[in-house]
């Protein structure tokens, strides 16, 4: 197994561990992730600050 494959496997295992968190903790993580993504998009060069985010389900 290459080091990259090992890294992917470790990452996948970490992701699966997150399933054991409480629903409330997962929602808080999702909130933090959403804010991080929004921040990255705001700071992206040439970002359209007036663009609406399309709703997702």
């Amino acid at each position: 197994m290459t080091s990259f494959e090992k890294h992917l496997k470790k990452d996948a295992a970490w992701q699966k561990e997150r399933s054991a968190l409480s629903w409330a903790e997962k929602v808080r993580l999702a909130e933090a992730l959403r804010e991080s993504i929004a921040q990255i998009r705001r700071n992206r060069p040439g970002a359209n600050r007036d663009a609406r985010t399309a709703p997702k389900r």
């Binding site: 997150r18 399933s19 968190l21 409330a24 993580l29 999702a30 909130e31 609406r52 997702k56 389900r57």
Partner: protein
Amino acid sequence: MKELALLLNEMCAAGVITNYALFGAVAQMRYTEPVATVDADILVAVPSSERLDLLAPIYDFCSAKGYRPEGEAIRVGAWPAQFVPVFDRLTTEAVECAETADFEGAPLRVVRADHLAVIALSVGRAKDRLRVLALLESGSVSRAEVADLAQRHGLAEAWKGFEARFLDD
């Protein structure tokens, strides 16, 4: 999210909606690992399905409580909440059969894993396929349960196609 739970229960008590259930990514997280999502999707059953502006009473109720529209959603605390009136037998059943979970002390109705999977199957985008796979992998729903529910809602062929493409060797 707790603020949204309290609001939804208030809406039910006030008769603005007759029932509700969280679905989409936030509901999925109850069963799987956390996922990135922009908003909280809520299926709602409304008292009268004959008016054209089904969501107007919901918007009015929220506005009276200080919750403002944000695009196609209503901002409730940290979450944009997108209200979706039930639109077929599957979503109607999903709301009726939803489980009442405890979210930090507040009751919050959430669509069951099997209904989440079949709703995702019926929509069919790439992210919906990922949802089906994540729910199966989490063990919260089995292939047999999805097959049974898909069959009951006219999605047997869609499920067979999904199995052939993503699950069968």
